[in-house]
């Protein structure tokens, strides 16, 4: 998803959308293998969550070849669909179609919260996992240097400092598809100064966590009405920070803004590795091609 209107990137941030939206989302992943494969065991995290910002009205999950599907909540309460295809097959299609009603933020304004407000042990239990190194986000020297550049001085207010770090990323990093891949780590993004939303989210997590702001990776979708013709749609990623007295709040560094009613959340985790949309293993020769088709349509 390409950030729109580079022309306005200089100063003003557009106000958040507060209009409730009814969205239809379809997300198709098609693997074509080099030959027959078997013993394919997979997990999909594709079902949008239901919370105070969105309601998942409908969810359909389709597989080809067909298989029995179980679902269970994972450690972060994301809905995981599990399935296995043991017989030989040459391709695998996983399609999730959902209808989601998004709602405007109802929790009121974000209260000011200094670093000391995070120390309450009752709060720490909720965010402890999201302060440390994880697979894609290692808190090394590179990340630390970048974090100091992004936010000189120490943490003053959790939300306004989050926004400052987001602005820093938007100012200094270029959105360019194909410059990175799915395995790119946060420190590589710093070296290259470019990437896509997944990279910006990982980078931002690194900077936030270095400053002691609990933050987690969000996988989801985003309504983008101003698409270029032929622009490929894919699933989107952003971050959520933990605000004492408020809860988790989303920020999208790719578009340098807080998330609003255009955003649909599927899953949260420490980084991409925790919540890849489709993951699994199989036996056979390997994958020839993977096609991902995502569409987010507004119903009303």
């Amino acid at each position: 998803m390409i950030p729109q209107s580079d022309t306005t990137s200089s100063s003003s941030v557009e106000p958040p959308w507060i209009e409730p939206l009814l969205l239809t989302i379809s997300h198709l992943t098609r693997y074509t293998y080099e030959g027959p494969v078997q013993d394919s065991f997979n997990e999909a995290r594709l079902q949008p969550v239901t919370d105070q910002l969105q309601q998942c009205r409908e969810f359909r999950f389709r597989l080809d070849p067909d298989a029995q599907v179980w679902d269970y909540p994972d450690f972060y309460s994301n809905c995981v669909h599990y399935f296995d295809v043991q017989n030989p097959h040459e391709s695998l299609e996983v399609e999730a179609v959902s209808v989601v009603q998004t709602l405007p933020e109802s929790r009121g304004p974000v209260p000011e919260a200094g670093p000391e407000s995070l120390l309450d042990p009752r709060l720490q239990e909720q965010y402890f996992d999201f302060l440390h190194s994880s697979e894609f986000v290692s808190l090394g020297a590179d990340v630390w240097r970048e974090a100091v550049d992004a936010l000189p001085g120490s943490l003053r207010d959790v939300w306004s400092d989050t926004v400052a770090i987001g602005e820093h990323i938007h100012r200094n990093y270029k959105y360019s598809p194909l410059s990175t891949n799915v395995n790119t780590r946060a420190f590589e993004v710093i070296k290259r100064k470019q990437g896509v939303c997944q990279d910006f989210a990982h980078l931002m997590l690194g900077l936030l966590r270095t400053h002691g702001i609990p933050s987690r990776y969000v996988s989801g979708y985003f309504l983008n009405p101003r698409k270029f013709p032929g622009e490929i749609e894919a699933s989107h990623a952003w971050v959520e920070v933990f605000l004492p007295g408020f809860g988790w709040k989303g920020y999208d560094p790719t578009h340098r803004r807080q998330t609003d009613s255009r955003y649909v959340k599927i899953a949260v985790g420490r980084d991409y590795a925790d919540i890849r949309p489709v993951g699994g293993t199989f036996r056979g020769k390997g994958t020839r091609e993977m096609v991902v088709e995502v569409s987010v349509q507004r119903v009303s």
Binding site: M1, T29, Y31, V37, Q38, S40, N42, V49, D51, Q52, L53, W70, D71, Y72, P73, Y76, S77, N78, Y82, S117, D120, R122, L123, Q126, P177, T180, N181, V182, N183, V196, C197, Q198, A201, S219, I232, A234, S235, H236, A237, P244, G245, F246, G247, W248, V268, Y272, R276, P277, V278, G279, G280, T281, F282, R283, G284, K285, G286, T287, M290, V292
Partner: protein, 359 residues
């Protein structure tokens, strides 16, 4: 700060289900953990009862001792292993072999060590209390204290073993979640219990009475009473048959009772329930040959009479039950636990599903 935000994505507990995904390895460990504990309890009871019975026959010579103990070895199918370690089948050798011999896979100590090893492999799946009770039993058996207690008073020792089993089964019932794992634990327990009841009953087939005149005499009655006590069935039997302990009635009770929880029929009924719950099939639906044989036997138990069994032979009947249970065990293993080794010749490599970048 007082209004703690609640995690938004979490569903209320009533709307959540346990994961229905379970590793075959875990199923295997839970099943054998449960079977071995049940087995150790039965062996302990059998030895305890028979040692007490010996008090009534203090004047037995070597031959008579052998005739008393050999059927017990035969019923467990361990007589060959026994004679590779001992020459004489006397009280001390047999009880030592069935209690402490680690080379005997069915000795109490082997059963409980293996049960504990299985529990250790699935420690994250069972409750702390379950593991600790089993571990305590393991430490007790490893201590020198165990043998000392056994030598000074075998009854106290076997009593302790039975209590460990009861404690463990009680803790399982009160602390283990009702999931697939619980079904495997129950299947192991009831399959083992049904099998052990057939073996306890079969002991009397092997016991040769000194003369025909002894049939129905005091020795015979004492032995049949011992059979009942070996299955913890004496009091339950007495509720049905107040006066006499008659061979036919004992056999009938241990095979057919629907209310006594150690009878073959009651165990098989529970086993049937658990198997259907596990496979999700309709009641009375059996797919594999092993399941059909099991279902047929369970039906037979609803229609057969003890007279018919005696006419065709009690020993043969009991052996038939053991075969059905054995094959059912094979079936459970193949269906739920066994994974065929991968054919390396076909160069089947494990791959990760390719990942999609979020853009």
């Amino acid at each position: 700060m007082n209004d703690l935000p609640t995690p938004t994505a979490q569903k209320p507990i009533t709307e959540r289900r346990d994961s229905q995904v379970m590793l075959s390895r875990v199923a295997n460990s839970l099943y054998w953990m449960s079977r071995y504990i049940e087995r150790s309890e039965n062996v302990a009871r059998l030895l305890d009862v028979n040692l007490q019975l010996m008090l009534d026959f203090a004047d037995f010579n070597d031959q008579q001792l052998k005739e008393h103990w050999l059927p017990i070895l035969c019923s467990a199918g361990d007589e060959e292993t026994f004679f590779s370690f001992y020459d004489r089948a006397d009280s001390e050798n047999v009880t030592e072999f069935l209690t402490f011999r680690e080379e005997n896979p069915n000795s109490i100590i082997s059963c409980l060590f293996t049960a504990r090893e299985n529990a250790r492999q699935v420690r994250d799946q069972i409750s702390l209390e379950m593991f600790e009770s089993l571990n305590e039993c393991y430490l007790f058996l490893k201590s020198r204290n165990a043998r000392e207690i056994w030598q000074t008073g075998a009854h106290d020792f076997y009593e302790q073993i039975k209590k460990y089993s009861h404690l463990f089964q009680g803790l399982t019932a009160s602390t283990f979640t009702r999931s697939e794992g619980y079904e495997f634990i129950n299947i192991g327990k009831f399959l083992e219990r049904a099998d052990k009841t057939t073996r306890i009953l079969d002991i009397k087939y092997h016991i040769l009475l000194p003369s025909v005149a002894d049939i129905g005499g005091a020795v015979d009655a004492a032995q049949w009473q011992a059979i009942l006590r070996s299955a913890s069935a004496l009091e339950a039997y007495r509720r049905f048959h107040v006066e006499d302990i008659l061979p036919k009635k004992v056999a009938e009770f241990l095979i057919f009772s629907t209310t006594f929880p150690r009878s073959i029929r009651a165990c098989m009924q529970r086993l049937d329930d658990e198997l259907h719950r596990l496979s999700g099939k309709e009641r009375r639906e059996y797919r594999s040959p092993e399941e059909r044989a099991f279902g047929k036997l369970l039906s037979d138990l609803n229609f057969l009479t003890i007279d018919e069994i005696q006419t065709s032979g009690l020993h043969e009947f009991l052996q038939g039950v053991q075969t059905v249970l054995d094959r059912l065990d094979d079936h459970i293993y193949r269906e739920y636990m066994f994974h065929p080794p991968v054919d390396i010749q076909a160069e089947i490599l494990l791959h990760q599903q390719q990942m999609q970048q979020q853009q």
